[in-house]
Symmetry: D2
Subunit: 357 residues, 4 copies
C-alpha cells in the first residue's frame, strides 16, 4: 500500500487537476492500493496538517477543469525557515506531518518558488516528486511547463480582440501579458496575435526604437500598431541600474503597471493615442487547452511510475518530446530565460517584429 501526499502551491494555472488525475490514475492502474492525502492550499496545508483523504473517484471528471481541487497559496521560500507568527517552525512542522501520516512520498505541483521549498524538503529527507506548473514556462530542466500553452491561448485571444478594435480606430494598443522575469508567454502570444512590437524582460527596450517602429508602420501605410508587453518589460536605462538603484527609483513609481509607463512615454515622444489592456489573472484560469491536458496527463503518468518504483527526488519534465526525470537539486532556484540570441527571436525579427532593441 502506498500513502501519497499531494499539494499544489503558488499561483494556480490550467491543468493542475489534469496532472493530479494523471498521477492517481497511473498509481491506481498499477494495481497497488493507494491512499491519497490532499493538503489544502499548498504548503500551508502541510504545515498545519490541513488535509483531505481522497479516492480515485475525486480525480474523475477533472481533466478539463481549471484551477486546483486542493486549493493553492503562496508560501514564500524566502521566509520558509522563519517561524510563523505563533513561533511554529514551518519546516519541522511539514516533516512531522509527513511522518505522522506515514507518507511514502509527497507529490508537489508548482513553479519556481515551490521547487526551492520542495528541494529543501528533499534535503531534509522527505521523498519528493514534483511536476512543473507555471504559465511562465520558466522552469529550468524542462522544455515546457503545463499551463503555459493555455495561457498563450488566452493572451492571444485578447490580442485578437484588440486587433479588430485597433484596426477600426487606427490606434496604438498595448496588451500587457503576464511574466515579471521571463518573456516566453509574451513572446509566443505576441507572435501568435501578430503583435508588431514585443517587449520582454530579457531584451531591455529603447523607447526611441519603439517609437521609431510605430512610425515606420504608419509611414508604411498601417494605421495601427499593437504592442505585446510583458509585466516585467524594462528599459535600457533601468536595466543598467543596480538592484539598489532600481529599488530606490521604484519608490516613486506611480503607474499602475509597466504598460501605462510605456504608453505615457510613447505619447510624449509622438502624437499617437495609446490604449492599454491588461488581461491579468484571466491568463491563469479556465479549462486547460488540449495540449496542456495531454502534456499534464503524461507528466502525471510518469510521476506515478516513479512512485511505484520508489524513485524520489525528481522533477518530471519533458525534453525533445520525451518525458524525463531531472534531479531536484539541478532544477531548484534556476530560471529558464529567453535568450536574446535564440533562433525564435531572430525568426521573429525576420518577420518584421521589433523588440525595441
Amino acid at each position: 500500500m502506498k500513502r501519497i501526499g499531494m499539494l499544489t502551491s503558488g499561483g494556480d494555472c490550467q491543468a493542475l487537476n489534469a496532472a493530479m488525475r494523471g498521477v492517481v490514475k497511473s498509481v491506481s492502474h498499477s494495481g497497488e492500493d493507494v491512499e491519497i492525502y490532499g493538503f489544502i492550499d499548498g504548503y500551508r496545508g502541510l504545515i498545519y496538517g490541513d488535509f483531505r483523504m481522497l479516492t480515485s473517484r475525486d480525480f474523475s471528471g477533472i481533466l478539463t477543469k481549471g484551477g486546483t481541487i486542493l486549493g493553492s497559496s503562496r508560501t514564500p521560500f524566502k521566509t520558509i525557515k522563519d517561524p510563523d507568527e505563533n513561533g511554529l517552525d514551518k519546516v519541522e512542522a511539514m516533516k512531522q506531518n509527513y511522518y505522522k501520516l506515514k507518507l511514502d512520498c509527497l507529490v508537489i505541483l508548482g513553479g519556481n518558488g515551490t521547487h526551492k521549498t520542495a528541494n529543501l524538503l528533499r534535503e531534509e529527507g522527505l521523498n519528493i516528486v514534483t511536476l512543473p506548473k507555471t504559465i511562465d514556462n520558466d522552469l529550468y530542466g524542462t522544455d515546457m511547463t503545463f499551463g503555459f500553452q493555455s495561457a498563450v491561448n488566452i493572451a492571444t485571444d485578447a490580442i485578437d480582440c484588440i486587433h479588430t478594435t485597433a484596426a477600426s480606430h487606427g490606434r496604438v494598443f498595448i496588451v500587457e501579458v503576464m511574466g515579471h522575469k521571463v518573456g516566453w508567454l509574451t513572446l509566443n502570444a505576441g507572435m501568435a496575435g501578430g503583435a508588431d512590437i514585443i517587449l520582454i524582460p530579457e531584451i531591455p527596450y529603447d523607447i526611441d526604437k519603439v517609437v521609431d517602429a510605430i512610425e515606420a508602420r504608419h509611414t508604411g501605410g498601417s494605421k495601427f500598431t499593437i504592442l505585446a508587453v510583458a509585466e516585467g518589460a524594462i528599459s535600457k536605462e533601468d536595466a543598467a541600474l543596480s538592484k539598489k538603484e532600481l529599488k530606490e527609483k521604484m519608490k516613486n513609481y506611480t503607474y499602475p503597471s509597466v504598460s501605462y509607463e510605456i504608453a505615457d512615454k510613447i505619447q510624449k515622444k509622438s502624437n499617437y493615442e495609446v490604449r492599454v489592456t491588461v488581461p491579468g489573472h484571466t491568463q491563469r484560469g479556465g479549462s486547460p487547452c488540449p495540449y496542456d491536458r495531454v502534456f499534464a496527463s503524461r507528466l502525471g503518468s510518469e510521476a506515478g511510475k516513479l512512485i511505484m518504483k520508489g524513485e524520489y527526488g525528481f522533477m518530471v519534465g519533458i525534453k525533445n518530446r520525451e518525458i524525463i526525470k531531472v534531479p531536484l537539486e539541478d532544477v531548484a532556484g534556476k530560471l529558464k530565460y529567453v535568450s536574446p540570441d535564440a533562433s525564435i527571436i531572430k525568426e521573429a525579427k525576420m518577420l518584421g517584429i521589433s523588440f525595441g532593441d
Copy 2:
C-alpha cells in the same frame, strides 16, 4: 440607380461588418444598381469628404470579421455644431458632401451619440437610416443592439477564467465590465458567469451591504466571492451628490477605475484580499457571435428594404423578435436603462445575487 453613403461611428463593436454586408446584399438582391460610398472613420469621413467607392464584392466574406472595414472615430455631438480648428462648419460640410455625391441616403451605424448627430442630419433634410450598434445595449426604441451579446460572451469568458483562479486561491475578485451609464452588459455577464455580487450604475451600492454579502458567503462555507462591477458603478453617497458636487469630488480621484476604489473599500472594511481584473477593450473586439451575426444581418436586410422603398428617417431595431423601424426623433438622445424593479433584477436576487442595495 441608388447611391448610398455609409459610415460607422463611435466605439467599434462586433457585427458592424455583418450589418453593412446585410444592407448591401439586400439592396443588391433587389436588382437595382447600387453605388456605395463608404466614408472613412465615421462622421470625420463625411465632414472631410474622405470616402471609398465600394462594390458588393467588398462586403463578401466579412460576416464573421470583427471591427469595421470603414474605420470609426468618435465625433462628439456636443461640439458638432462648432466649427473645426480651421473654421469649417462641420454640419454644413456633411450636407455639402452628401449633395455633391448626389446620395440617395446615408446609412449610419452607431450608438447613442451617433444617433443624436444622425437625427440632426435628418432635421437638416438628409435621408437617413440608422442601425443600432453598441455593446452597451442602451439604445432606446429597440430590445437589443448588435455587439451586446458578443460582448457578454467575452466578459463572461473573463469571469469564467477568474472563477477557477478565485476558487483555487480563496480570494475576492472583481471583474470590471464595460458600461459607464448602463448596466445591461454587467448584469448579463455577471449572471452568466455566476457572479455573487453585481454592481451597476442604475442601482447605487452601499459598501457595507457589499461587505455583508461577501461575509455571508464565507460564513456559509464559500471560500471565494466574485463581483461583476460596471465601469459606472456608483455608491449611494456619490449618487446623492449633485452633478457639480460629484465633478468637484472626482478632481481628487486617484484610482485607475472604479473597481480599484471598491476593492480598496472592501479591504479596509474587512480583511479580505481583493484582486481586480479589467478585460477592457477586448469586450469590443473579435468575431461576432452567431446571435449577433443573425441579428445584424436581419437589421441590414430590413434597412435595405427601407432604402428600396425610400422610407427614411428611421432606426431599424427589434421588438418582440420582429425587426421594426422607429422614427429617429423618438430615439435620439434617449437611453434604455436597467430598471431596479425589472423582473430580471428580481430573478437575479432570488438566485442569491446581491446588488449591494
Copy 3:
C-alpha cells in the same frame, strides 16, 4: 418544508444544470426548508423509484456544466400508458412514488414528448412545473427554449470551419444540422455561418432550384457553395406524399441521412463534387453559452417562485423578454414551426439565401 421532485427527460442539452441550479437557489433563497429528490434518468427514475436526495450544495458550481447531473432517458409518450415488460403500470407507478415521498411538486425539464407526459401527470392530479429544454426551440408557448442558442453556436462553428475548407478547395459542402421536424436551429446556424442555401422541414425543396442556386453562385464568380440542411429537410415530391406513402417509400431508403441523399441528387444533376459533414450529437453537448446560462437561470428562478406560491400546472417560458407561466394544457403536444412567411425567412431571402423553394 417543501419536498420537491426533479427530473430531466429526453435528449439532453446545454443549461439543464443551470436551470435546476436556478430552481434550487431560488427556493432556498426564500428561506423555507427544502428537500430535493432527484430522479435518475428521467421518468425512468420516477417510475422505478430511483432517486437521490440532493442538497443545495449539489447544485453549486454546475452553472457552466453541460449535460445533466440527474441523467436522462427517452420515455416515449406513445407507450407511457402501456405496462412495462414486467406488467407494471408506469403512470400508476409514477403517482405512487410521488405520494410515497410526499412530494409537494415535480419539476420536469424536457422537450415536446416530455411535456405530453408531464401534462398527463398533471391531469392525474400531480403538482407539476416544467421548464422548456430543447436545442430545437420548437416548444409552443415560449419564444425560446434553453439549449437552442448553445446548439446554434456549435453548428455555426462547424459551418465556419467548413467555410475555410470549402473556399480553399472550391467545393460544394453540406452541413447537416439537427432538427427532424423544425428548422429553427438550421435557419439560425445557416444565417450565422453565411450558408448560401438553407433547407428546412417547413419549406420543402425543389432539387432543381437548389442546383440552380449553386450554379448561379458559380456563374457569379464564387467557387464554392455551402448548404445548411436540417435532418428533416424534405423534397416537394416527398412532402406531397401521404404519411403512409412516405413510410412505404422510406423502407428502401439507403442513405445514412438526408444530406447524403441531397448530395447525391446534386451530383447527378450537375458536375459539382459535394461533401457532407454531420456534427451530430456534439450539438447537444458542452458548456452552455452565456445566453443560455442567463435564460435558464431566470426560468429556474421563476419556477422556484411558483413553487413557493404553490402555483402548479405551468410551463415557465419567455415572451417578449419577460419570463411567463403558461398552462401546461395549452402547451403539451403542440410544436412551434418556422412559418415559410415569417419575416426572418423574407429577410434571409433578401440576403440572397436560397431555400430551394
Copy 4:
C-alpha cells in the same frame, strides 16, 4: 530581385496562410525586391500556368485566417508522370512555366503526396523549398507539422461535447477522428478529451478486448464509455490480411466508415447502445490555434532565410524545438508513424486507456 513561385497542395489545413505570410514577410524584411507568383489550386495552377501576382500587402492580415488564399487541390503523385486528358506532359508543363516566369524558386506547402511531387521537381532541376502542412502530423523528418495542433483542438472540442451527452445518457459513444494511415491526431485528441478507448491504425484492435474494456468500466461504476477511433483503425484480422485480400474484402464493405463497423460489432457482442459522431472536414478548418500560428510563422521565416541564401532542395521542419532544414530526398515518400512501443502509448496505458490490443 527574387522571383518566388508559391503553391499550396493537398487537403487544406489551418495556418497555411500564416506560413505563407511568414515566407513573404521574411523575404521582404531582407530588403531585396521580391515578386511573388501565387499558383492557383496547387500543382494544377503550376501545370496550366494559372497564377496571380501577389504583393506583400496580399499577405497582410491573414495570420489568423483558415484555409489558403491560393486555393488547393489534390494532384495524385501516382499519376503525375501520366499525360493529362489532352495529352499534356504535366511535369514538363510545370518546368516550362517555372522557366517561363524566370522563377528563382518554388515554395511548396503540403503533406506527404505533395512532398513526393516536390522532390520529383527538385530532381528535375527546379529550386524547391517546402513547408510541412498536414493535420496528420505524419511527415517524416520533422517533429511536428502545422495544422496538427489546431485539428487536435477541434477534435477534442467534439469529444468534450460528446462527453456531457454520453454521461447524461449513459451511452457508448464513438468519435471518429481524421487519419487514414497514422494515429497522432486520434491519440492526442483522445487523450485530451479523456477517451477511455483509443483505436489507431498502428495498433490493430481485438474487438473482444474493446468490449472487455467497456464492460470493465461499467462494472467499475461508470455509466458511459467514449472511444476515439481513427478513420484508419483496423482489426487484428484485417491487419493480418495481404493487401490484395483486404482489397477483395472491402468490395463488399457497406458501412459509411469504420466507426459504424466498430459500433455494430460492439452492439452485437454486448447489449450497449453505441452512437457515432464524425466531425469530418471541420477538423481541417477554422482559424489556426496560437501554437500553429507561431510554429508556421517560424517555419515561413526560416524558409525566407533559405531563399535569400539560395539554399534549395529542403523541407523546413522542427527538431527539438529548433527550426531545421532537411534534404527533400530524405523526406519524400516516408511517413512518421506512432510506434506501439512509444513512451506516450505506455503513458496512456498507465492512465487506464485501452488501445484494444
